[in-house]
Symmetry: C2
């Protein structure tokens, strides 16, 4: 890898793993998950598909690199807070929002877990669980539950946003689903029918944080 030391570049801006990953992120954000193809990426970088394969092994590696970059940037925004409770909530929100802004990251995290992206989240959460005073034997469980919940909800929230092809207004979308829930069979879906109104009014982010608090309460109560 002596490449970086080379003085001059052949192209205006030489192809590099970083430039490819950045272009991939742009493409994914602009065109959605299906928009990322090696041909489209090559066009955007003014080159051919073959050139990309010199820097990246395959599409899966490209997706891992792209999601790692997004998660790392998001976590970088969370500074050390005074109270563990607060920092856990901050990390959760930042991850939630990163996946909301880049829905393809969510899909990627559930396909290829325990790569760098997820490990970073686990580490940050784990330290705060420790700071909360959770005893050694229960830390792994508590941190795992939190991370699973954070990723799980974020992925599903992002999936909801991707549901309809023309990006539809959130309020309209909830209105529609809520109406569908109200039409459900009263025998089969009594509960869902009853909470249909709450679906329309609910705030994903607030609901998400309420879940975090539920888990934190559980962790603290059984400490």
């Amino acid at each position: 890898m002596a490449k970086a030391t080379r003085g001059s570049e052949r192209r205006e801006e030489a192809l590099s793993r970083e430039r490819i990953v950045d272009a991939a992120i742009e493409l994914l954000d602009d065109e959605g998950e299906n928009g990322l193809t090696f041909r489209a990426l090559a066009t955007r970088l003014a080159t051919g598909p073959g050139a990309i394969y010199w820097h990246i092994a395959n599409k899966s590696e490209l997706l891992v690199a792209a999601s790692d970059a997004v998660v790392a940037r998001a976590l970088g925004e969370v500074l050390a807070f005074a109270k563990p409770h607060e920092e856990i909530r901050r990390i959760a929100v930042v991850v939630f929002e990163a996946i909301d802004a880049h829905p393809w990251v969510g899909a990627q995290l559930s396909v290829a877990p325990w790569r760098t992206a997820m490990l970073q989240i686990f580490e940050r959460i784990g330290r705060q669980v420790q700071a909360l005073g959770v005893p050694g034997g229960a830390r792994f469980t508590a941190a795992s539950a939190l991370v699973s919940y954070i990723i799980g909800v974020s992925v599903q929230n992002a999936a909801n946003g991707r549901l309809l092809d023309p990006p539809v207004d959130r309020a309209d979308f909830l209105e529609t689903v809520s109406a569908q829930w109200k039409e459900l069979d009263a025998q089969e879906y009594p509960f869902t029918r009853n909470v249909a109104a709450q679906l329309r009014e609910h705030d994903d982010r607030a609901e998400f944080l309420a879940g975090i608090d539920l888990i934190l309460t559980g962790i603290t109560a059984s400490r």
Copy 2:
């Protein structure tokens, strides 16, 4: 749809949506997510790809139908229990195991949520949350948190199982990852390094249930 009333069949067993979905489930279980192609499915059904399209609109609809069938069968096994706590745990375990046995269901649930499969889980969990005595305004939040956690952990657990192409022994796999964690940078990943041993020994299912209990404790404590 007067088809079902037709007395005689052209083939030994006529093609039907149900037969196609069953064959798709078999194919997915046998060959993995990438094994389901319309060509392979056509071969298994001794027909051509075009015939399948008469019964199913596209691949996405086929995947939705297949996961709905698997989840419905799994939930069907859970009878009404006396105590809501118990039934919630039973539902959680059954979903966890169904996704573990059919990992492709997990991937599907995070791509297309809020279809029948997820709704069924939500409904069953919601009723028990209500039975727990959670007040009306908090039921939606509690049920959502539980469902998100259940799906989130199950999907990630299933994704772990799919990680390596030749199905590797679970203990070996954990041993390897645990060893990798111990090799992590001490500055960057102190927590993860510390719990590496717990990763090796932990039981996914038990950990999953511990998380459920954590949330249930939280729900009960803040009731």
